[in-house]
Symmetry: C2
Subunit: 229 residues, 2 copies
Amino acid sequence: MQLAGLDAASLKTVRVSVVDQLYATLRGAIIDNDLSPGARISETEIAQHYGVSRQPVREAFIKLANEGLLEIRPQRGTFVAKISRPAVMDARFVREAVEADIVKLLAQAPEPALIADLRDQLVRQRQIIGGSARDFMEADEAFHHTLAAGAGKENAWRVIVEMKAQMDRVRFLSSMHFSVARLVDQHTQLVDAIAAGDAVGAEQAIRFHLRGILQDLPIIEQEHPEYFR
Amino acid sequence: MQLAGLDAASLKTVRVSVVDQLYATLRGAIIDNDLSPGARISETEIAQHYGVSRQPVREAFIKLANEGLLEIRPQRGTFVAKISRPAVMDARFVREAVEADIVKLLAQAPEPALIADLRDQLVRQRQIIGGSARDFMEADEAFHHTLAAGAGKENAWRVIVEMKAQMDRVRFLSSMHFSVARLVDQHTQLVDAIAAGDAVGAEQAIRFHLRGILQDLPIIEQEHPEYFR
DNA sequence: TCTTGCATACTACCATACAAGTCAAGAGAG
DNA sequence: CTCTCTTGACTTGTATGGTAGTATGCAAGA
């Protein structure tokens, strides 16, 4: 069965399972805070809402629970996982470690084609300044993905995506706080260091950049204590 | 509700879901190469073997597929994932990056209690020399877990466990090759560096250690090409 | 006022049935 | 013999029913 409203691209020969559609939809809703931390969602409710049976909903729930985005409490209910400060900080820790090694690799052997691609993205990022937070977060994801792909670490990117989900939930809540211009400046410094073959500088740049993303976490926690564990 | 003084292990009444049991069993079988890469396993077959229905088997399959240990091909069949050299190398890359940052943290503020614990484990590891590969791999896992826990990164450890699974599959195949004594020596050098507060030395030690683990990968691939993608 | 027992209405877990896609063996035509 | 098509025995995907565990409200009793 097909989900209504989600199937623009599915007219192609690609059949995407109901589970995957539900997974993507719910994941986005959680990260965007359409489903708030602590909110209760039941298999039955979601199944009826999308006109599918409970089983694919359940399987999508399991996937999301594995990512730490849902908490399934047997015989009690399923809830959007509350934000855990240690979990978010550890996610950042892992992401920082991995991306630091990635940019070190890139800086040790800078490829002109990659640098050009990155600089091109920087231009577009500057055009977003003043625009929507969501547009920037998409561009930001593309930028970091380019770094990983450029280092030939597509598989490692999968790990980063998982860590990013935890961080982005917080980040979305702080969309009123963060300065896009400042983040683009940090991206620029990073690319400059890579282009110059400055591994140490690149590592410092990415670590500083990633640590800054969550600097508003204490503020968020104070503003929305009900979203935290 | 849990009664005071009665922990989970002391109660036979603790119900662990069928899914989790299947997941743990199958995961162990895959890593230990009891289920070889490329082998076909069907939901029905496993369900009948364990006397359960297809549904929990299916859900355990999904979990294992998310970890990259199974490959589910819709309407075709489910197979034990063949070992992908890029995937294994990326898993090592991620693990190395994370553990490097962990030991740097530890070395920057070495705690005597933790050092004592680690040295205690080193003694037991030396007693295993000449023993079974499986015993050492258990002790090795405990050692690395202690490092992560000592740095207060329990959540990060979950990522390491996932990366380890990919590496351990290869490692098990090379159990005839690797020298336990050499690995324990590397562990010892690492602990010495941490105890001395030598962050640079600790980082070098863990990176060297983790890179050595997979040094036999080309040999394994030559001996068992059918296990590789 | 506070506790206790129980009916009730949920929940997720598991079993079973059906649907739909894949693939290979084999019949039949050329 | 070679090619094409059909058939049917697989596979996973989805739907639905039944079961046991859990929270909750309320009435009876201390």
